[in-house]
């Protein structure tokens, strides 16, 4: 069984359905990016996955078992708002980690303090937002955990330290750690992640291996000289979304792009282009509402 398994997670806060039927898995050595607009259910998913909030329905397996206290020995969680103690300094936080975790690696901890240019004698209350994020990451990576759950791990960091976080994630993955992280920095996820889960209003709208998505998610753009009927494509299971602006037809394809190209080509368009979709474009086409008809008609 994969180190992180989430099955049909459901969670309501009163009338608000925070997550609905969210399922995904993260194998060992994999980095999974959890993406979505604010309020789409990323943090709720993390809290339920770690047992910090009780899910209404669904099953969670971490390292092959339901979340339980012993699990935290093998897991590092970096929440969005750091859970550091204001009155303690960095060295004291690392000392607590050393006592609580058998896997704590002091050499790695001091190397990481250097990487993030952190003064271990400085109290948390005197650290900037970025320095707090960095300290939480130093503690997390020093534990050499089997599972890492990171909510916005780059928030407040400068570009150099953001890059350092990516390098550390890749090293950890190469050692077999299963990592799930949320981030608004699509560029970071695009580099380091090998799989993504995109949430919209608490539901999974797109997920899978990133390279597999790169291979099959395409945008087909056709310009027609004669009037054409886009209706025939709206019910096509291979097509996720149809847009029409004047004489231009845009098809967001998520299966069999070559077959769709042939079908559109048979309608004799004046031009026909197959465009690759990077993660940012995939994200927007998965999360965006279709444009109102009034903006499209012209």
């Amino acid at each position: 069984m994969n180190p992180i398994v989430i099955e049909s997670l459901n969670k309501r806060y009163g009338q608000f359905e925070a997550v609905r039927d969210v399922s995904f898995e993260v194998p060992a050595g994999s980095i999974c990016g959890l993406l979505g607009p604010n309020g789409s259910g990323k943090s709720t998913t993390f809290k339920c996955a770690l047992g910090l909030t009780r899910a209404d329905a669904g099953r969670i397996f971490l390292d092959g078992a339901a979340p339980r206290p012993q699990m935290f020995e093998r897991l590092a969680f970096v929440p969005e708002r750091s859970a550091l103690y204001e009155r303690f300094n960095g060295a004291e936080h690392l000392e607590m980690a050393r006592r609580a975790y058998r896997s704590y690696d002091p050499a790695r901890a001091s190397a990481m303090l250097d990487i993030f240019s952190l003064d271990p004698k400085k109290r948390v209350s005197r650290l900037s937002k970025g320095q707090r994020t960095a300290l939480a990451l130093v503690v997390a990576f020093a534990l050499r955990p089997a599972i890492m759950v990171l909510d916005e791990p780059a928030s407040g960091l400068d570009p150099i330290h953001q890059r350092a976080v990516l390098d550390l994630l890749i090293e950890a993955a190469a050692m077999g750690t299963a990592i799930v992280l949320s981030s608004h920095q699509i560029g970071q996820v695009e580099r380091a992640a090998d799989r993504v889960v995109i949430l919209k209003r608490g539901r999974v709208v797109l997920d899978g291996e990133l390279d597999e998505l790169r291979g099959r998610e395409k945008l087909i753009e056709a310009v027609f000289a004669a009037p054409f009927d886009p209706e025939r494509f709206t019910a096509d299971a291979r097509i996720r979304r149809v847009e029409r602006r004047g004489a231009t037809l845009r098809l967001y394809v998520h299966a069999d792009p070559d077959g769709v190209m042939r079908d559109v080509g048979a309608l004799a368009p004046a031009s026909l282009t197959l465009l690759d979709q990077n993660l940012e474009e995939l994200f927007f086409s998965a999360v965006e509402e279709p444009r109102p008809a009034t903006l499209e008609a012209r």
Partner: protein, 139 residues
């Protein structure tokens, strides 16, 4: 010769492109072999080393190496690493043809997309072959 001493070849991937990263890597390894930047028997970086160097996921590198091994381009021996397969004229020719096919297909797709008709494209290709191959022969 180019690139660092530790990493033969000069690999790079563009995560912003919509092309799968493992496909990009496979293409580059084949290119490096085709132009001789990677010699037969030469050792490739480990999965971890290349993942860290390129800042890409180790699974992506592992996938590229698996496919290259399946295609007979490299061989991996447990504990020793991955190596470019010995010089086999037919294999090298196939590798070169694979690299060229990727580039040509993109060009033909582009031409098709802007409505170039088949006879016109064929004439154009003929002319371009004439130009580039005669330049080579004059040297």
């Amino acid at each position: 010769m180019f690139g660092s001493e530790d990493v033969p070849g000069n690999f790079n991937v563009d995560p912003r492109s919509g092309v799968p990263l493992y496909t990009q890597l496979i293409d580059q390894v084949k290119r490096s072999i085709a132009v001789g930047a990677l010699a037969p028997g030469e050792r490739l970086p480990t999965v971890k080393q290349l993942a860290v160097d390129l800042t890409v996921n180790p699974n992506t590198v592992a996938r590229a190496y698996r496919d290259l091994e399946r295609d007979g381009v490299i061989e991996t021996s447990p504990g020793r690493g991955s190596f470019v397969r010995g010089s086999d004229v037919a294999q090298t020719r196939r590798t070169v043809a694979d690299v060229a096919a990727v580039a040509l297909e993109a060009a033909i797709r582009d031409a098709r997309s802007i409505g170039v008709e088949r006879p016109a494209l064929e004439a154009l290709v003929e002319r371009l072959i004439e130009r580039w191959y005669s330049v080579g022969e004059r040297r």
